[in-house]
Protein backbone atom coordinates (compact mmCIF):
# COMPACT_ATOMS: atom_id res chain seq x y z
CA UNK A 1 0.00 0.00 0.00
CA UNK A 2 2.76 2.41 0.95
CA UNK A 3 4.48 1.60 -2.32
CA UNK A 4 1.45 2.63 -4.32
CA UNK A 5 1.06 5.91 -2.46
CA UNK A 6 4.72 6.88 -2.72
CA UNK A 7 4.97 5.91 -6.39
CA UNK A 8 1.67 7.68 -7.00
CA UNK A 9 3.17 10.82 -5.56
CA UNK A 10 6.27 10.41 -7.71
CA UNK A 11 4.05 9.95 -10.75
CA UNK A 12 2.10 13.04 -9.84
CA UNK A 13 5.32 15.03 -9.46
CA UNK A 14 6.70 13.81 -12.78
CA UNK A 15 3.36 14.44 -14.45
CA UNK A 16 3.43 17.95 -13.01
CA UNK A 17 6.81 18.66 -14.58
CA UNK A 18 5.54 17.21 -17.82
CA UNK A 19 2.51 19.47 -17.71
CA UNK A 20 4.66 22.57 -17.32
CA UNK A 21 6.51 21.51 -20.47
CA UNK A 22 3.59 20.14 -22.46
CA UNK A 23 1.10 22.94 -21.78
CA UNK A 24 3.31 25.41 -23.62
CA UNK A 25 4.05 22.93 -26.40
CA UNK A 26 0.36 22.20 -26.83
CA UNK A 27 -0.66 25.87 -26.86
CA UNK A 28 1.98 26.70 -29.46
CA UNK A 29 0.94 23.76 -31.62
CA UNK A 30 -2.76 24.42 -31.20
CA UNK A 31 -2.56 28.10 -32.04
CA UNK A 32 0.36 28.43 -34.43
CA UNK A 33 0.41 24.91 -35.96
CA UNK A 34 4.11 24.84 -35.12
CA UNK A 35 5.48 21.58 -33.80
CA UNK A 36 8.24 23.11 -31.73
CA UNK A 37 10.81 20.35 -31.61
CA UNK A 38 13.13 22.72 -29.73
CA UNK A 39 10.85 22.54 -26.72
CA UNK A 40 12.80 19.76 -25.01
CA UNK A 41 16.02 21.67 -25.66
CA UNK A 42 14.47 24.81 -24.12
CA UNK A 43 13.67 22.77 -21.03
CA UNK A 44 17.23 21.48 -20.77
CA UNK A 45 18.85 24.83 -21.51
CA UNK A 46 16.62 26.48 -18.89
CA UNK A 47 17.81 23.93 -16.34
CA UNK A 48 21.47 24.60 -17.21
CA UNK A 49 20.97 28.36 -16.98
CA UNK A 50 19.33 27.93 -13.58
CA UNK A 51 22.15 25.66 -12.46
CA UNK A 52 24.78 28.21 -13.46
CA UNK A 53 22.83 30.95 -11.70
CA UNK A 54 22.78 28.90 -8.50
CA UNK A 55 26.48 28.10 -8.80
CA UNK A 56 27.12 31.82 -9.24
CA UNK A 57 25.41 32.43 -5.93
CA UNK A 58 21.82 33.21 -6.87
CA UNK A 59 19.12 31.60 -4.79
CA UNK A 60 16.77 28.98 -6.25
CA UNK A 61 13.86 31.32 -6.88
CA UNK A 62 16.00 33.78 -8.77
CA UNK A 63 17.40 30.86 -10.75
CA UNK A 64 13.91 29.79 -11.81
CA UNK A 65 13.16 33.35 -12.85
CA UNK A 66 16.42 33.63 -14.80
CA UNK A 67 15.88 30.27 -16.49
CA UNK A 68 12.41 31.35 -17.56
CA UNK A 69 13.48 34.79 -18.77
CA UNK A 70 16.52 33.50 -20.68
CA UNK A 71 14.49 30.93 -22.60
CA UNK A 72 11.65 33.38 -23.11
CA UNK A 73 14.06 35.82 -24.77
CA UNK A 74 15.62 33.06 -26.87
CA UNK A 75 12.21 31.73 -27.92
CA UNK A 76 10.92 35.18 -28.80
CA UNK A 77 13.97 35.88 -30.95
CA UNK A 78 13.60 32.56 -32.76
CA UNK A 79 9.91 33.15 -33.29
CA UNK A 80 10.39 36.67 -34.55
CA UNK A 81 13.40 36.17 -36.81
CA UNK A 82 13.17 32.57 -37.97
CA UNK A 83 9.74 31.03 -37.60
CA UNK A 84 7.83 34.09 -38.78
CA UNK A 85 9.86 34.13 -42.00
CA UNK A 86 8.50 30.66 -42.67
CA UNK A 87 4.89 31.56 -41.97
CA UNK A 88 2.49 29.18 -43.69
CA UNK A 89 5.13 26.50 -44.23
CA UNK A 90 4.53 24.20 -41.28
CA UNK A 91 6.98 21.53 -42.38
CA UNK A 92 9.79 24.01 -42.92
CA UNK A 93 9.10 25.36 -39.45
CA UNK A 94 9.34 21.90 -37.91
CA UNK A 95 12.68 21.25 -39.57
CA UNK A 96 14.06 24.57 -38.37
CA UNK A 97 13.03 23.85 -34.79
CA UNK A 98 14.65 20.42 -35.10
CA UNK A 99 17.88 22.02 -36.31
CA UNK A 100 17.78 24.55 -33.47
CA UNK A 101 17.20 21.72 -30.99
CA UNK A 102 20.39 20.02 -32.17
CA UNK A 103 22.35 23.25 -31.97
CA UNK A 104 21.16 23.96 -28.44
CA UNK A 105 21.77 20.38 -27.30
CA UNK A 106 25.32 20.32 -28.62
CA UNK A 107 26.10 23.80 -27.33
CA UNK A 108 25.00 22.64 -23.87
CA UNK A 109 27.49 19.75 -23.98
CA UNK A 110 30.12 22.23 -25.04
CA UNK A 111 29.43 24.65 -22.21
CA UNK A 112 28.35 22.39 -19.36
CA UNK A 113 30.22 19.18 -20.36
CA UNK A 114 28.63 15.77 -20.70
CA UNK A 115 28.34 14.86 -17.02
CA UNK A 116 24.96 14.80 -15.29
CA UNK A 117 24.69 17.72 -12.90
CA UNK A 118 22.28 17.71 -9.96
CA UNK A 119 20.58 21.01 -9.28
CA UNK A 120 20.64 21.76 -5.54
CA UNK A 121 17.28 21.88 -3.85
CA UNK A 122 16.34 25.09 -2.05
CA UNK A 123 17.05 24.67 1.67
CA UNK A 124 13.52 25.60 2.73
CA UNK A 125 12.03 22.72 0.70
CA UNK A 126 14.35 19.88 1.68
CA UNK A 127 13.22 17.17 4.01
CA UNK A 128 10.04 15.18 4.08
CA UNK A 129 6.53 15.60 5.29
CA UNK A 130 5.53 12.67 7.49
CA UNK A 131 2.08 11.17 7.77
CA UNK A 132 1.80 7.92 9.72
CA UNK A 133 4.75 5.87 8.40
CA UNK A 134 4.88 7.65 5.05
CA UNK A 135 7.47 10.24 4.14
CA UNK A 136 6.57 12.64 1.34
CA UNK A 137 9.49 14.70 0.02
CA UNK A 138 8.41 18.31 0.44
CA UNK A 139 9.99 19.40 -2.82
CA UNK A 140 7.83 17.02 -4.83
CA UNK A 141 4.72 18.24 -3.06
CA UNK A 142 5.84 21.75 -3.93
CA UNK A 143 6.27 20.87 -7.61
CA UNK A 144 2.79 19.35 -7.66
CA UNK A 145 1.44 22.50 -6.07
CA UNK A 146 3.16 24.67 -8.68
CA UNK A 147 1.70 22.62 -11.54
CA UNK A 148 -1.83 22.79 -10.15
CA UNK A 149 -1.46 26.55 -9.57
CA UNK A 150 -0.14 26.91 -13.12
CA UNK A 151 -3.05 24.89 -14.47
CA UNK A 152 -5.46 27.15 -12.63
CA UNK A 153 -3.66 30.29 -13.81
CA UNK A 154 -3.59 29.11 -17.41
CA UNK A 155 -7.24 28.15 -17.19
CA UNK A 156 -8.04 31.60 -15.89
CA UNK A 157 -5.92 33.21 -18.60
CA UNK A 158 -7.56 31.21 -21.38
CA UNK A 159 -11.14 31.18 -20.18
CA UNK A 160 -11.50 34.48 -18.39
CA UNK A 161 -9.13 37.02 -19.93
CA UNK A 162 -9.31 38.94 -23.17
CA UNK A 163 -6.00 37.51 -24.32
CA UNK A 164 -7.34 34.04 -23.59
CA UNK A 165 -10.46 34.68 -25.63
CA UNK A 166 -8.27 35.70 -28.55
CA UNK A 167 -6.08 32.61 -28.15
CA UNK A 168 -9.11 30.34 -28.05
CA UNK A 169 -10.54 32.01 -31.15
CA UNK A 170 -7.20 31.49 -32.88
CA UNK A 171 -7.00 27.81 -31.92
CA UNK A 172 -10.52 27.19 -33.20
CA UNK A 173 -10.22 29.04 -36.48
CA UNK A 174 -7.22 31.18 -37.25
CA UNK A 175 -8.59 32.72 -40.44
CA UNK A 176 -11.76 33.72 -38.64
CA UNK A 177 -9.79 35.21 -35.75
CA UNK A 178 -7.79 37.24 -38.23
CA UNK A 179 -10.96 38.39 -39.95
CA UNK A 180 -12.29 39.56 -36.60
CA UNK A 181 -9.36 41.93 -36.36
CA UNK A 182 -7.19 40.03 -33.90
CA UNK A 183 -3.52 40.82 -34.48
CA UNK A 184 -2.38 37.26 -34.79
CA UNK A 185 1.32 38.07 -35.11
CA UNK A 186 1.25 39.69 -31.68
CA UNK A 187 -0.77 36.78 -30.33
CA UNK A 188 1.76 34.31 -31.75
CA UNK A 189 4.65 36.13 -30.13
CA UNK A 190 2.84 36.21 -26.79
CA UNK A 191 2.02 32.51 -26.84
CA UNK A 192 5.47 31.47 -28.04
CA UNK A 193 7.06 33.66 -25.37
CA UNK A 194 4.82 32.15 -22.69
CA UNK A 195 5.45 28.59 -23.82
CA UNK A 196 9.22 29.15 -23.93
CA UNK A 197 9.26 30.77 -20.50
CA UNK A 198 7.32 27.83 -19.05
CA UNK A 199 9.77 25.36 -20.62
CA UNK A 200 12.78 27.25 -19.27
CA UNK A 201 11.42 27.74 -15.77
CA UNK A 202 10.11 24.15 -15.77
CA UNK A 203 13.61 22.92 -16.54
CA UNK A 204 15.03 24.63 -13.46
CA UNK A 205 12.14 23.36 -11.35
CA UNK A 206 12.80 19.82 -12.61
CA UNK A 207 16.52 20.10 -11.83
CA UNK A 208 16.45 18.86 -8.23
CA UNK A 209 14.31 15.84 -9.23
CA UNK A 210 15.67 14.83 -12.64
CA UNK A 211 19.05 16.64 -12.53
CA UNK A 212 20.42 18.05 -15.79
CA UNK A 213 22.25 15.91 -18.34
CA UNK A 214 22.79 15.79 -22.08
CA UNK A 215 19.80 13.91 -23.47
CA UNK A 216 17.31 15.43 -21.03
CA UNK A 217 15.90 17.23 -24.08
CA UNK A 218 15.26 14.08 -26.12
CA UNK A 219 13.99 12.31 -23.00
CA UNK A 220 11.35 14.96 -22.38
CA UNK A 221 10.35 16.00 -25.91
CA UNK A 222 8.76 12.68 -26.98
CA UNK A 223 6.86 12.58 -23.68
CA UNK A 224 5.46 16.03 -24.45
CA UNK A 225 4.47 14.76 -27.91
CA UNK A 226 2.75 11.74 -26.39
CA UNK A 227 0.91 14.03 -23.97
CA UNK A 228 -0.43 16.13 -26.83
CA UNK A 229 -1.39 13.08 -28.90
CA UNK A 230 -3.14 11.71 -25.82
CA UNK A 231 -4.81 14.86 -24.58
CA UNK A 232 -5.74 16.48 -27.87
CA UNK A 233 -4.42 19.48 -29.76
CA UNK A 234 -4.50 22.86 -28.07
CA UNK A 235 -6.54 21.57 -25.14
CA UNK A 236 -5.31 22.71 -21.73
CA UNK A 237 -7.39 20.07 -19.96
CA UNK A 238 -6.01 17.49 -22.38
CA UNK A 239 -2.43 18.51 -21.62
CA UNK A 240 -3.18 18.33 -17.89
CA UNK A 241 -4.86 14.93 -17.91
CA UNK A 242 -2.40 13.57 -20.49
CA UNK A 243 0.58 14.69 -18.39
CA UNK A 244 -0.77 13.04 -15.27
CA UNK A 245 -1.55 9.80 -17.13
CA UNK A 246 1.96 9.66 -18.56
CA UNK A 247 3.41 10.66 -15.18
CA UNK A 248 1.66 7.76 -13.46
CA UNK A 249 2.42 5.24 -16.18
CA UNK A 250 6.04 6.24 -16.23
CA UNK A 251 6.45 6.22 -12.48
CA UNK A 252 4.66 2.95 -11.77
CA UNK A 253 6.27 1.42 -14.84
CA UNK A 254 9.76 2.35 -13.67
CA UNK A 255 9.09 0.90 -10.25
CA UNK A 256 7.25 -2.27 -11.25
CA UNK A 257 8.91 -3.23 -14.53
CA UNK A 258 12.04 -1.10 -14.88
CA UNK A 259 12.95 -2.79 -18.16
CA UNK A 260 9.56 -2.26 -19.72
CA UNK A 261 8.77 1.29 -18.57
CA UNK A 262 9.16 2.54 -22.12
CA UNK A 263 7.25 -0.32 -23.69
CA UNK A 264 4.24 0.59 -21.55
CA UNK A 265 4.32 4.10 -23.02
CA UNK A 266 3.12 2.57 -26.28
CA UNK A 267 -0.13 1.47 -24.72
CA UNK A 268 -1.89 4.80 -24.21
CA UNK A 269 -0.81 5.88 -27.70
CA UNK A 270 -2.12 2.73 -29.32
CA UNK A 271 -5.40 3.00 -27.44
CA UNK A 272 -6.00 6.68 -28.10
CA UNK A 273 -4.96 6.61 -31.76
CA UNK A 274 -7.11 3.57 -32.40
CA UNK A 275 -10.20 4.56 -30.48
CA UNK A 276 -10.12 8.33 -30.47
CA UNK A 277 -7.67 9.97 -32.91
CA UNK A 278 -8.70 13.44 -31.79
CA UNK A 279 -7.17 12.75 -28.38
CA UNK A 280 -9.13 12.63 -25.17
CA UNK A 281 -10.16 16.28 -25.16
CA UNK A 282 -9.30 17.51 -28.64
CA UNK A 283 -11.88 18.68 -31.12
CA UNK A 284 -9.85 18.02 -34.23
CA UNK A 285 -7.60 15.14 -35.23
CA UNK A 286 -3.94 16.04 -34.95
Amino acid sequence: MNFWIIQGLNGLAFGSLLFILASGFSLIFGLMRIVNLSHGAYFMLGAYVGLSAIEAGANFWVAILLGGIAICVLGTLIERFVLRRLNGQPLAQVLVTLGIAFIIADACVWIWTGDPRPVPMPAELTGAFRVAQLAFPIYRLFVIGVAFALAAALWFLLERSRLGAMIRAGVDDLAMARAMGIRTSLLFSAVFCLGSALAGAGGVLAGPILSVYPGLDTDMLPLALVVVILGGVGSLLGAFVGSLIIGFIYSYGQALFPDLAYVILFLPMVLVLTLRPTGLFGRQAI
Binding site: V35, L91, A92, V96, F102, D106, L221, I286
Partner: protein
Protein backbone atom coordinates in the same frame (compact mmCIF):
# COMPACT_ATOMS: atom_id res chain seq x y z
CA UNK B 1 21.24 19.92 -74.09
CA UNK B 2 21.52 16.38 -72.85
CA UNK B 3 20.82 13.79 -75.46
CA UNK B 4 19.74 10.28 -74.48
CA UNK B 5 23.08 8.85 -75.63
CA UNK B 6 24.91 11.35 -73.45
CA UNK B 7 22.79 10.24 -70.49
CA UNK B 8 23.63 6.61 -71.20
CA UNK B 9 27.31 7.38 -71.28
CA UNK B 10 26.96 9.22 -67.99
CA UNK B 11 25.19 6.26 -66.44
CA UNK B 12 27.76 3.76 -67.62
CA UNK B 13 30.57 5.96 -66.36
CA UNK B 14 28.90 6.27 -62.97
CA UNK B 15 28.31 2.55 -62.74
CA UNK B 16 31.88 1.81 -63.81
CA UNK B 17 33.19 4.23 -61.18
CA UNK B 18 31.11 2.54 -58.47
CA UNK B 19 32.31 -0.91 -59.51
CA UNK B 20 35.93 0.13 -59.90
CA UNK B 21 35.98 2.00 -56.59
CA UNK B 22 37.89 -0.64 -54.61
CA UNK B 23 40.69 -0.41 -57.22
CA UNK B 24 40.61 3.35 -57.39
CA UNK B 25 40.90 3.84 -53.65
CA UNK B 26 43.01 1.11 -52.22
CA UNK B 27 42.76 2.25 -48.62
CA UNK B 28 40.44 0.07 -46.54
CA UNK B 29 39.28 3.17 -44.72
CA UNK B 30 37.79 4.69 -47.86
CA UNK B 31 36.26 1.45 -49.04
CA UNK B 32 34.56 1.16 -45.67
CA UNK B 33 33.24 4.70 -45.97
CA UNK B 34 31.87 3.77 -49.38
CA UNK B 35 30.08 0.83 -47.75
CA UNK B 36 28.66 3.17 -45.11
CA UNK B 37 27.40 5.47 -47.84
CA UNK B 38 25.75 2.59 -49.68
CA UNK B 39 23.95 1.39 -46.53
CA UNK B 40 22.86 4.93 -45.64
CA UNK B 41 21.66 5.37 -49.21
CA UNK B 42 19.34 2.37 -48.93
CA UNK B 43 17.81 3.84 -45.78
CA UNK B 44 17.51 7.27 -47.41
CA UNK B 45 15.87 5.72 -50.48
CA UNK B 46 13.27 4.08 -48.30
CA UNK B 47 12.59 7.32 -46.40
CA UNK B 48 12.29 9.15 -49.71
CA UNK B 49 9.44 6.80 -50.62
CA UNK B 50 7.50 8.35 -47.75
CA UNK B 51 8.70 11.94 -48.03
CA UNK B 52 9.29 12.48 -51.71
CA UNK B 53 6.63 10.26 -53.23
CA UNK B 54 4.11 10.05 -50.42
CA UNK B 55 4.39 13.51 -48.86
CA UNK B 56 4.58 11.85 -45.44
CA UNK B 57 7.33 13.43 -43.37
CA UNK B 58 8.57 10.81 -40.96
CA UNK B 59 10.93 11.73 -38.13
CA UNK B 60 11.21 8.17 -36.88
CA UNK B 61 12.78 6.32 -39.75
CA UNK B 62 15.74 5.20 -37.66
CA UNK B 63 13.26 2.78 -36.07
CA UNK B 64 13.53 0.33 -38.97
CA UNK B 65 17.31 0.57 -39.21
CA UNK B 66 17.75 0.07 -35.49
CA UNK B 67 15.15 -2.61 -34.83
CA UNK B 68 16.36 -4.69 -37.75
CA UNK B 69 19.99 -4.34 -36.64
CA UNK B 70 19.16 -5.22 -33.03
CA UNK B 71 17.11 -8.22 -34.09
CA UNK B 72 19.77 -9.50 -36.50
CA UNK B 73 22.48 -9.32 -33.86
CA UNK B 74 20.32 -10.62 -31.04
CA UNK B 75 19.04 -13.55 -33.05
CA UNK B 76 22.35 -14.70 -34.52
CA UNK B 77 24.79 -13.83 -31.73
CA UNK B 78 22.63 -14.26 -28.61
CA UNK B 79 19.64 -16.45 -29.39
CA UNK B 80 21.41 -19.12 -31.40
CA UNK B 81 19.74 -18.66 -34.76
CA UNK B 82 21.61 -19.22 -38.00
CA UNK B 83 22.61 -16.39 -40.30
CA UNK B 84 19.82 -16.93 -42.81
CA UNK B 85 17.04 -17.45 -40.29
CA UNK B 86 18.35 -14.53 -38.23
CA UNK B 87 18.28 -12.27 -41.28
CA UNK B 88 14.79 -13.38 -42.22
CA UNK B 89 13.50 -12.85 -38.69
CA UNK B 90 15.08 -9.39 -38.56
CA UNK B 91 13.56 -8.27 -41.84
CA UNK B 92 10.22 -9.98 -41.29
CA UNK B 93 9.69 -8.67 -37.77
CA UNK B 94 10.81 -5.16 -38.67
CA UNK B 95 8.39 -5.12 -41.59
CA UNK B 96 5.66 -6.28 -39.21
CA UNK B 97 6.61 -3.41 -36.91
CA UNK B 98 6.22 -1.05 -39.87
CA UNK B 99 2.69 -2.42 -40.30
CA UNK B 100 1.84 -1.45 -36.72
CA UNK B 101 3.63 1.91 -36.81
CA UNK B 102 2.06 2.68 -40.16
CA UNK B 103 -1.37 1.95 -38.77
CA UNK B 104 -0.76 4.27 -35.80
CA UNK B 105 0.99 7.08 -37.69
CA UNK B 106 -1.56 7.17 -40.49
CA UNK B 107 -4.33 7.89 -38.03
CA UNK B 108 -3.08 11.43 -38.58
CA UNK B 109 -1.57 13.29 -41.51
CA UNK B 110 0.92 16.10 -41.96
CA UNK B 111 2.23 17.42 -38.66
CA UNK B 112 0.34 14.83 -36.63
CA UNK B 113 1.96 12.07 -38.66
CA UNK B 114 5.35 13.63 -38.01
CA UNK B 115 4.72 13.86 -34.26
CA UNK B 116 3.55 10.27 -33.99
CA UNK B 117 6.49 8.86 -35.96
CA UNK B 118 8.87 10.87 -33.79
CA UNK B 119 7.24 9.74 -30.56
CA UNK B 120 7.16 6.07 -31.62
CA UNK B 121 10.80 6.24 -32.71
CA UNK B 122 11.94 7.78 -29.44
CA UNK B 123 10.01 5.22 -27.41
CA UNK B 124 11.93 2.52 -29.28
CA UNK B 125 15.14 4.33 -28.47
CA UNK B 126 14.09 4.40 -24.80
CA UNK B 127 13.46 0.67 -24.88
CA UNK B 128 16.89 -0.02 -26.38
CA UNK B 129 18.46 2.26 -23.81
CA UNK B 130 16.59 1.09 -20.71
CA UNK B 131 15.85 -2.57 -21.30
CA UNK B 132 19.48 -3.37 -20.64
CA UNK B 133 19.02 -7.07 -19.92
CA UNK B 134 17.86 -7.59 -23.50
CA UNK B 135 19.58 -4.86 -25.49
CA UNK B 136 22.74 -4.27 -23.50
CA UNK B 137 21.53 -0.73 -22.79
CA UNK B 138 23.99 2.03 -23.48
CA UNK B 139 26.77 -0.51 -24.14
CA UNK B 140 24.89 -1.83 -27.10
CA UNK B 141 24.84 -5.31 -28.53
CA UNK B 142 27.82 -6.92 -30.22
CA UNK B 143 29.13 -10.33 -31.11
CA UNK B 144 27.79 -10.32 -34.64
CA UNK B 145 29.76 -12.18 -37.27
CA UNK B 146 29.49 -11.36 -40.94
CA UNK B 147 27.92 -14.26 -42.85
CA UNK B 148 29.53 -16.15 -45.71
CA UNK B 149 26.78 -16.26 -48.31
CA UNK B 150 27.72 -18.44 -51.31
CA UNK B 151 31.25 -18.70 -50.03
CA UNK B 152 31.82 -14.94 -50.17
CA UNK B 153 34.20 -13.69 -47.52
CA UNK B 154 32.38 -10.58 -46.30
CA UNK B 155 35.11 -9.74 -43.81
CA UNK B 156 37.07 -8.50 -46.79
CA UNK B 157 36.21 -4.78 -47.21
CA UNK B 158 36.03 -4.81 -51.01
CA UNK B 159 33.85 -7.91 -51.10
CA UNK B 160 31.60 -6.43 -48.44
CA UNK B 161 31.36 -3.26 -50.50
CA UNK B 162 30.19 -5.22 -53.54
CA UNK B 163 27.78 -7.11 -51.32
CA UNK B 164 26.04 -3.95 -50.08
CA UNK B 165 26.28 -2.37 -53.53
CA UNK B 166 24.29 -5.31 -54.86
CA UNK B 167 21.53 -4.52 -52.37
CA UNK B 168 21.59 -0.83 -53.28
CA UNK B 169 21.17 -1.83 -56.93
CA UNK B 170 18.31 -4.13 -55.95
CA UNK B 171 16.66 -1.36 -53.92
CA UNK B 172 17.04 1.14 -56.74
CA UNK B 173 15.57 -1.30 -59.22
CA UNK B 174 12.58 -2.21 -57.02
CA UNK B 175 11.92 1.40 -56.07
CA UNK B 176 12.23 2.58 -59.67
CA UNK B 177 9.65 -0.03 -60.63
CA UNK B 178 7.48 0.95 -57.69
CA UNK B 179 7.48 4.63 -58.63
CA UNK B 180 6.18 3.85 -62.11
CA UNK B 181 3.78 1.16 -60.96
CA UNK B 182 0.08 1.56 -60.27
CA UNK B 183 0.66 1.70 -56.53
CA UNK B 184 3.55 4.16 -56.85
CA UNK B 185 1.57 6.44 -59.13
CA UNK B 186 -1.40 6.21 -56.77
CA UNK B 187 0.86 7.18 -53.88
CA UNK B 188 2.07 10.26 -55.76
CA UNK B 189 -1.55 11.13 -56.48
CA UNK B 190 -2.47 10.91 -52.80
CA UNK B 191 0.48 13.18 -52.02
CA UNK B 192 -0.85 15.90 -54.34
CA UNK B 193 -4.63 15.52 -54.08
CA UNK B 194 -5.77 13.15 -51.36
CA UNK B 195 -9.40 14.21 -51.53
CA UNK B 196 -9.53 13.92 -55.29
CA UNK B 197 -7.92 10.50 -55.18
CA UNK B 198 -10.59 9.34 -52.76
CA UNK B 199 -13.29 10.53 -55.13
CA UNK B 200 -11.59 8.63 -57.96
CA UNK B 201 -11.97 5.38 -56.05
CA UNK B 202 -8.59 5.17 -54.34
CA UNK B 203 -8.40 4.01 -50.76
CA UNK B 204 -5.92 6.68 -49.72
CA UNK B 205 -5.25 5.21 -46.31
CA UNK B 206 -4.51 1.75 -47.68
CA UNK B 207 -2.23 3.11 -50.40
CA UNK B 208 -0.26 5.13 -47.88
CA UNK B 209 -0.11 2.22 -45.47
CA UNK B 210 1.14 -0.23 -48.11
CA UNK B 211 3.81 2.27 -49.15
CA UNK B 212 4.74 2.79 -45.50
CA UNK B 213 5.24 -0.95 -45.07
CA UNK B 214 7.25 -1.12 -48.32
CA UNK B 215 9.49 1.67 -47.02
CA UNK B 216 9.79 -0.12 -43.68
CA UNK B 217 10.93 -3.25 -45.50
CA UNK B 218 13.80 -1.42 -47.19
CA UNK B 219 14.65 0.27 -43.91
CA UNK B 220 14.92 -3.25 -42.45
CA UNK B 221 17.25 -4.31 -45.26
CA UNK B 222 19.45 -1.30 -44.51
CA UNK B 223 19.39 -2.27 -40.83
CA UNK B 224 20.51 -5.80 -41.58
CA UNK B 225 23.43 -4.53 -43.66
CA UNK B 226 24.20 -2.02 -40.90
CA UNK B 227 24.44 -4.91 -38.45
CA UNK B 228 26.76 -6.80 -40.80
CA UNK B 229 28.93 -3.74 -41.29
CA UNK B 230 29.36 -2.63 -37.69
CA UNK B 231 28.82 -6.09 -36.14
CA UNK B 232 27.51 -4.01 -33.26
CA UNK B 233 24.50 -1.82 -32.56
CA UNK B 234 23.79 0.74 -29.85
CA UNK B 235 20.76 2.91 -29.04
CA UNK B 236 22.35 5.58 -31.24
CA UNK B 237 21.07 3.66 -34.28
CA UNK B 238 17.53 4.33 -33.07
CA UNK B 239 18.07 7.90 -31.98
CA UNK B 240 16.33 10.98 -33.34
CA UNK B 241 19.67 12.20 -34.70
CA UNK B 242 19.86 9.13 -36.96
CA UNK B 243 16.35 9.83 -38.25
CA UNK B 244 17.31 13.46 -38.75
CA UNK B 245 20.51 12.58 -40.61
CA UNK B 246 18.53 10.33 -42.93
CA UNK B 247 15.99 13.08 -43.44
CA UNK B 248 18.85 15.43 -44.29
CA UNK B 249 20.14 12.98 -46.90
CA UNK B 250 16.73 12.98 -48.56
CA UNK B 251 16.34 16.74 -48.48
CA UNK B 252 19.91 17.41 -49.52
CA UNK B 253 19.63 15.16 -52.55
CA UNK B 254 16.24 16.50 -53.51
CA UNK B 255 12.99 14.85 -52.47
CA UNK B 256 10.97 12.88 -54.96
CA UNK B 257 13.85 11.98 -57.25
CA UNK B 258 15.16 8.45 -57.62
CA UNK B 259 18.88 9.11 -57.20
CA UNK B 260 18.75 12.20 -55.00
CA UNK B 261 18.88 10.27 -51.72
CA UNK B 262 21.96 8.35 -52.90
CA UNK B 263 23.81 11.59 -53.57
CA UNK B 264 22.49 13.01 -50.30
CA UNK B 265 23.72 9.95 -48.41
CA UNK B 266 27.19 10.38 -49.92
CA UNK B 267 27.25 14.07 -48.96
CA UNK B 268 26.13 13.53 -45.37
CA UNK B 269 28.30 10.48 -44.64
CA UNK B 270 31.40 12.09 -46.12
CA UNK B 271 30.73 15.36 -44.32
CA UNK B 272 30.17 13.56 -41.04
CA UNK B 273 33.39 11.59 -41.37
CA UNK B 274 35.42 14.61 -42.42
CA UNK B 275 34.00 16.82 -39.70
CA UNK B 276 34.41 14.19 -37.01
CA UNK B 277 38.09 13.95 -37.87
CA UNK B 278 38.62 17.59 -36.94
CA UNK B 279 36.01 18.60 -34.39
CA UNK B 280 33.60 16.81 -32.11
CA UNK B 281 30.68 19.10 -32.78
CA UNK B 282 28.88 17.23 -35.57
CA UNK B 283 25.45 17.84 -34.04
CA UNK B 284 25.80 21.62 -34.15
CA UNK B 285 26.73 21.40 -37.80
CA UNK B 286 23.82 19.07 -38.50
CA UNK B 287 21.47 21.54 -36.86
CA UNK B 288 22.97 24.48 -38.69
CA UNK B 289 22.63 22.71 -42.03
CA UNK B 290 18.97 22.04 -41.32
CA UNK B 291 18.34 25.69 -40.52
CA UNK B 292 20.33 26.87 -43.53
CA UNK B 293 18.63 24.52 -45.99
CA UNK B 294 15.16 25.46 -44.83
CA UNK B 295 15.88 29.17 -44.86
CA UNK B 296 17.92 29.42 -48.04
CA UNK B 297 17.33 26.33 -50.16
CA UNK B 298 13.87 25.03 -49.43
CA UNK B 299 13.83 22.97 -52.62
CA UNK B 300 16.75 20.87 -51.41
CA UNK B 301 20.49 21.21 -51.65
CA UNK B 302 21.10 19.71 -55.09
CA UNK B 303 18.05 21.22 -56.83
CA UNK B 304 18.83 24.44 -54.96
CA UNK B 305 22.38 24.52 -56.26
CA UNK B 306 21.15 23.64 -59.74
CA UNK B 307 18.69 26.54 -59.56
CA UNK B 308 21.42 28.92 -58.45
CA UNK B 309 23.69 27.85 -61.27
CA UNK B 310 20.80 28.18 -63.67
CA UNK B 311 20.09 31.70 -62.47
CA UNK B 312 23.76 32.57 -62.67
CA UNK B 313 23.85 31.35 -66.27
CA UNK B 314 20.77 33.38 -67.09
CA UNK B 315 22.44 36.45 -65.66
CA UNK B 316 25.55 35.80 -67.74
CA UNK B 317 23.58 35.27 -70.93
CA UNK B 318 21.30 38.17 -70.17
CA UNK B 319 18.40 35.84 -70.77
CA UNK B 320 15.28 37.51 -69.45
CA UNK B 321 13.02 34.54 -69.93
CA UNK B 322 11.74 33.58 -66.53
CA UNK B 323 11.51 29.87 -65.95
CA UNK B 324 9.82 28.10 -63.11
CA UNK B 325 13.05 27.83 -61.19
CA UNK B 326 11.89 29.30 -57.94
CA UNK B 327 9.01 26.88 -57.68
CA UNK B 328 9.44 26.42 -53.98
CA UNK B 329 7.40 23.47 -52.89
CA UNK B 330 5.98 24.88 -49.75
CA UNK B 331 4.76 21.74 -48.14
CA UNK B 332 7.26 19.26 -49.37
CA UNK B 333 10.31 20.48 -47.56
Amino acid sequence: MRTPTFNWVLWLLGLAALLALPWLVTSEYYINIASQIVIAAILALSLNLLIGFGGMISLGHAAYLGVSAYLAIYMTAHAGFGQLSGALIAIGSTTALAMLFGYLSLRASGLGFLMITLALGQILWGIAYRWASLTGGDNGLGGMKRPHPFGLDLTHPAIFYYFVLFFLGLALWCIARFIQSGLGQSLQGTRDQPRRMRALGYNVWLIQWLSFVFAGFWGAVAGLLYAYYHQFVSPQALHLTTSAETLLMVIAGGTGTLFGPVVGAALVVILKNVVSAYITRWLILLGAIFVAIVLFMPEGLLPGLAAWIHRLKECLHGDKKTTGVSAITKDRV
